[in-house]
């Protein structure tokens, strides 16, 4: 405790020098926390976009080999009505599962009577879509009406290209799993924004029953599974795979992260940038503390000699200066924390929006205050500061006592 008191008083004694070090630390701390708060917000948005916006759910159940081979033999990888009847109760009985819903992919042409364009469609159960979407970005639209079995939802760029408006009639062409051409009339129930530029000019959503008629099947190629908590995804995947292995159907489960390559790519990129920024800040912190502590140690060499003569051990003198560096770092982090909170609040109040890469509409610029990260950064900088103080103080502690006492 007395070491801490000495450390704090010495910092106060050298107020101006301490202030500059604290400011450097504070800015470094704030820059890390603000950037990590921003990417946390981006990760959260991207995960919601993937799970609810794209409708990936938390887990996707398919026949084993579906992702690799279904484009060559889609029928082989269909989950039949009988298989769905055996899988469904297991999913429903699991306490972590809030929803499971069948899906059926369909591709073909959509026509306005004069022009046709390629579409990538998704057969979905309208009644369950509300739950899966979890009210994610209702402004984007795209909900099927359970009361209208032939109404489809068309992505906004595709609708614009074909001049389709809500309520218009259209024709959907495709081939069944047995290779026969099939076409059905449909109505434009609504137009929506997928949120992703790459899919907003080719996506349509179709009621599952309508899709089954188009493809002439009563099965589904995927089951989307929604969990109570996104954090439980990996655990639930293992648990459900174990339960489902007992019914003898060769299935596999993939998480939303495995299916959302965009999320993974963005996260990898931001993580790399974060490491880069953290490294720069770490270097600044280490240099700043080393510089401050080196000057302090030189100025207090005689004091070190006195303390050693009074019986202080070498490691205690190192602890004294490390504590001083840690107090400086703590003060810097506290200042940085205040700056971070202020920036979070101001950015939120300003209501700034921007269009991120690969998305089709504006998203708000927000910076989250991530308490866990703040704590991690706080202790990381504290340790860095202690390490930076170690070098000059360990050197000083090795000075012969008589030399230290005679230091001018």
């Amino acid at each position: 405790m007395y070491l801490l008191k000495m450390a704090a008083r010495n910092i106060r004694k050298n107020f101006r020098r301490s202030l500059f070090t604290i400011l450097a630390m504070g800015l470094g701390f704030a820059s890390i926390c603000i950037f990590s708060g921003y990417i946390h917000n981006v990760y959260t948005g991207l995960s919601e976009q993937a799970v609810h916006g794209e409708g990936l759910g938390h887990l996707t159940l398919v026949k084993k080999g579906y992702f690799e081979n279904s484009s060559l033999d889609a029928k082989k990888y269909l989950l039949t009505k009988d298989e769905l009847a055996r899988i469904g109760p297991i999913l429903s009985a699991d306490s972590g599962v809030t929803l499971w819903t069948p899906r059926l992919a369909v591709e073909g042409l959509i026509s306005n009577g004069r022009n046709s364009m390629i579409f990538m469609g998704e057969g979905i159960v309208p009644e369950q879509e509300d739950i899966l979407r979890a009210q994610y970005r209702p402004d984007r639209g795209g909900m099927l009406d359970p009361a209208k079995p032939t109404a489809i939802v068309v992505s906004s760029d595709l609708a614009r290209l074909l001049g389709l408006k809500t309520g218009a009639n259209t024709v959907v062409f495709t081939t069944t799993f047995d290779g026969e051409a099939n076409a059905l009339d449909a109505d434009i129930g609504s137009i929506y924004n997928t949120g992703i530029a790459a899919t907003n000019d080719k996506t349509i959503l179709i009621p599952l029953a309508f899709t089954r008629r188009l493809l002439d099947t009563d099965g589904a190629d995927r089951l989307r599974i929604l969990l109570r908590n996104i954090e439980d995804t990996d655990e639930a995947r293992t648990r459900l795979a174990t339960k489902l292995s007992r019914i003898g159907i060769p299935i596999e489960l993939r998480t939303w992260k495995q299916l959302s390559t965009f999320y993974v790519q963005v996260k990898d990129l931001f993580d790399m940038i974060f490491i880069f920024i953290f490294s720069i800040v770490a270097v600044i912190v280490v240099m700043s503390i080393t510089n401050t502590m080196s000057m302090t140690v030189i100025e207090r060499t005689r004091e070190i000699g006195t303390l050693r003569a009074l019986g202080m051990k070498r490691r205690q003198t190192v602890v004294l200066f490390s504590l001083e560096a840690m107090v400086l770092a703590a003060a810097g982090c506290a200042a940085g924390c205040a700056v971070t909170l202020a920036v979070c609040g101001v950015v939120s109040l300003l209501g700034i929006t921007y269009v991120p890469p690969n998305t089709s509409d504006h998203v708000p610029l927000l910076v989250d205050f991530v308490f866990g990260w703040v704590v991690v950064v706080f202790f990381s900088l504290l340790l860095l500061a202690a390490g930076a103080a170690y070098i000059p103080s360990a050197g000083a502690s090795r000075t012969r006592i008589v030399d230290a006492l005679g230091h001018v």
Binding site: K5, M6, R308, A309, R400, V402, L405
Partner: protein
Amino acid sequence: MNDGFCGRKPLVAIRSVTKEYKLGETTVRALRGVDLEIHEGEFAAIWGPSGSGKTSLLNLIGLIDSPSSGRVVVAGRDTATVSDDALAEMRNRFVGFVFQTFNLISVLTALENVQLPLQIRGVTARKARSAAAELLEQVGLASLAGARPDQMSGGQRQRVAIARALVTSPAIVLADEPTANLDSETGQQIVDLMRELNRNRRVTFVFATHDPKLLDGVRRHICLADGTITEDQSSVREGLTYVPA
């Protein structure tokens, strides 16, 4: 050698000690084969001109330096065989230092400075504070317990330093030119204080000085010249500070 202590185990025994320093290309021989014993309860002065080796000898006794050759035995332990940590503990337990330039910690108050050696040892703050307050009272500075070193006069600072040296109840207190930075009157007061504490607390005091005026009333004079002891004599003029067994 002082014969009055024959048969008793000395607190400090210096045997054939030399101390050499390198000053660039030159080797300075500060001590040249010194033999000395300090016994419990003594009040001794090491005196001699500047450069005679007084500080070097005190540094060896105080375990803050090691000899170039010879042995230094403190409290029965040959210091050459003791680790750095153990030496630090011995300094804390057996030795008290009073420096010429006071060497008080500038950010601590008088009371906190006196507490410091006990806190280095690991004594609780409350016990250390109580012991320090008592010592400050004995050196007549109870009213300045909360003052910082820069708020005190030289004499007051040296009194605080003496209190700090005594707070661990050391076997020996070493004072290197304790009056050099004080006026003669204050210097004499400091020596008187040390003698009084030697008498009342039976603490062994060894101080170095180049001022013969301060030797009045000091029982043992160890005279150094050119790194050798030229004279080591006891006087009984006043203040018997040591009663032979």
